[in-house]
Symmetry: C2
Subunit: 214 residues, 2 copies
């Protein structure tokens, strides 16, 4: 089923036309996880976003900027409910969804270019593994490499891992680095998905030191 | 940097040649998360796999069958350390990694076809959101659709979500449904990645009933 876009081919497609949205799974590693997850989701203003939570993740649809603001606020709100809690967060951002919208750019207007998103610093430090998937592009590696190059200049780039780029820094900057790479690709490639596995307050460094005092 | 495969072009590429591997993030929603994660990782035999854990996820490389057996065993071992614990698990499986191997099939042998993987039932029930990304394929939607069709016949298919297919059933069958879709695509497409967001022992259904008695 595709959206009926044919009647307004001269208009710039909206985020809704392009199937822009996200899925997020919030995993507070605490006995109080139910209160932390539900409390965080309840405390953040959804504005114009469509938000639906099931047992695996929360689906969010709306403009790119609103999505990022919401994702950042929800993670900050969860951390604030139990300061210092170790949070694992899995995020998917998608633009151009098969089955819901046609993954073909309007020949008149092309794909809309969204200005890079900036968010206020949160004071929450995060590390993440970030992967980017331009779909339907026969030569996808240079497209990914350009986005990773932009990330290298962002200040959050922290190395290349197997299957992912490591980002590290203030949560707001980690999320916007990944999102801006996704948006950059999305101005040329109709269907693009990005995944982020985010870690907040990980005790791994200390744990590893205790395990292996050498 | 690409692997030096040119000297043995007639050989069938190994999983290592093809950059086969996984990343997994295990998130037990419990105050005892450190013991659960480290205990589970330590208790499972790594066999011939290469395994490296950092603060965001664990990287695993080896044959497709060994990877799946390990992923399943680690999740079962984590659940067994605190029976009933709510676990969120984020999994990435990749075949054909840019920067490490050339994403071009050998013209003589093509890409190896791996037989579908089966694992013994675990008794652990899981729900998951599954996404599949054939990369570098100009016409990617029919490729995804064929894999989802196969999942529909597997018994774990539980509906189509935004950006993901819902799978539900015994953990072993949920994991193999996703992995077998990934392998099927990988016999035609040189670079293919799949993501799974897995939920074990979610209290969401009860919580939602308490929240909203209507």
């Amino acid at each position: 089923m595709s959206m009926p876009t044919s009647g307004r081919s001269a208009a710039v497609p909206t985020p809704q036309d392009l199937g822009v949205g996200a899925r997020v799974s919030l995993h507070p590693m605490s006995d109080r996880f139910v209160e932390i997850i539900l409390g965080a989701l309840r405390s953040v203003d959804t504005g114009d976003l469509e938000v639906a939570t099931d047992d695996v993740s929360t689906y969010i649809a709306g403009s790119e900027r609103d999505l990022l603001r919401y994702l950042c606020d929800v993670i900050v709100a969860a951390e604030a409910r139990e300061p210092g809690v170790h949070l694992g967060v899995s995020i998917l951002l998608s633009r151009g969804c098969p089955g819901e919208v046609e993954c073909v750019a309007d020949p008149t207007t092309g794909l809309p270019r969204v200005a890079p998103i900036r968010l206020e610093q949160t004071g929450v430090h995060a590390a993440a593994h970030w992967s980017l998937y331009p779909l339907g592009a026969p030569d996808h590696l240079p497209v990914i490499e350009r986005a990773v190059d932009a990330a290298r200049r962002s200040g959050t780039y922290a190395g290349s891992e197997h299957y992912a780029t490591r980002l590290e820094g203030d949560l707001a900057e980690v999320l916007t680095t990944a999102a801006n790479g996704w948006l950059e690709v999305g101005s040329d490639v109709a269907h693009v998905v990005t995944h982020l596995s985010v870690s907040v307050n990980s005790p791994s460094a200390q744990v590893r030191e205790e395990e292996d005092p050498a």
